[in-house]
Amino acid sequence: MASDSEGGIKIDPMAQFDIKPFFSDEVGALSFTNSTLWMAIVVLGAAALFFIGSQRRALVPTRLQSVAELMYEFIYKMVRDTAGEEGLKYFPYIFTLFIFILFSNLFGMIPMSFTVTSHLAVTALLALIVFVTVTVIGFMKHGSHFFSFFAPSGTPAPLLLLLVPIEVISYFVRPVTHSIRLGANMMAGHATMKVFAGFLASAAVLTPVVLPVMVAFTAFEVLVAVVQAYIFTILTCIYLNDALHLHH
């Protein structure tokens, strides 16, 4: 981020995404990296908000309690409105997902920090878990009837030969776009911010022009961070709704 590049002459907008292990020289399967550290910080931050926020259980909430309650109610409503009453069974999972992504995105806005969700490896795993969970729920609820999801009702048999592959492919496209959308948005935003910061560092003449842009873009990135967490979550709800109610 900005403070990284100010001192240096060399500006590398992608350096912020490097995975650096702490206790070893190479990244192995179990090494503790900066990504691991920030994931832990994200989890601790989220846990702290909800533990401290819900501790007093005041009728008139404190600010922290309000924040926690608002988030809870917001996602609760989203799940109920999108996936129906049956979807509420899965509310804890969806809420956890939202909070983790939201905190990762927002903690990534802290200068010198690491954005966990800017890595496709992380977002792809999140999307894959959603994909597998939703598919398993679909099969558990509907059994083999779940396959009718891929065959729009009322289609003549010859056309099914064409439509079923299309439906199946589009079903498998969903986790891919689901993960790329979040990861690419976070990465592109942070890289752009770094490039702008690089302008600031390398050409002081440009400061009056670049600094306002930089400020506006930082605000915009906060917006993107929240919206992308929201989008990932609501898409999860929509996929869950499809599996629960068989859309076609």
Partner: protein
């Protein structure tokens, strides 16, 4: 490229605030009158409905045309790529090199089109609804209704 989106968000916020202000105005003067119970309760109901939507669904969807375009492109590209990938895999399995690749590439493209179409449908439903309060929530309810049917 990104400059106009926060502005749109502001507009959306302003509209929402506006709606809240109006509903408060509408509800306040009717508070004292007892003779018009039905009218009053109707107005209270209207005011309550106007206050109902929280920041989130509709606001998020409103300034999201860039996200929408990006999403559609992604769906189309990923769909085609996945089709080609499946075809390529099956080709090398059966030794029918170019044939299945083409077939599944086209199928994947069709799948991409289908997803783009669905995305467009969802977003047009949203924007049609956002004239009234709570576009996102409303359309989500529509989805649910269609799913249940």
């Amino acid at each position: 490229m990104a400059g106009d989106r926060p502005e749109d968000a502001d507009q959306a916020n302003a509209q929402r605030d506006d709606a809240r202000g109006k509903s408060r105005d509408a509800a306040a003067p009717s508070g004292g009158e007892k003779s018009q119970d039905a009218d009053l309760s109707a107005r209270i109901e209207a005011a309550r409905r106007a206050l109902e939507p929280e920041a989130g669904p509709s606001a998020a969807e409103k300034y999201n045309s860039l996200t929408l375009a990006w999403r559609m492109t992604l769906e189309l590209v990923v769909g085609s790529a996945m089709g080609f990938g499946i075809g390529w895999g099956l080709d090398s399995l059966f030794g029918t090199k170019p044939f299945l690749m083409l077939v599944f590439g086209l199928l994947g493209f069709a799948a991409g089109i289908k997803l783009v179409y669905e995305t467009a449908q969802a977003s047009s439903r949203n924007s049609a609804m956002s004239g009234r309060a709570g576009g996102g929530v409303q359309s989500a309810k529509d989805d649910e209704g269609a799913g249940g049917a």
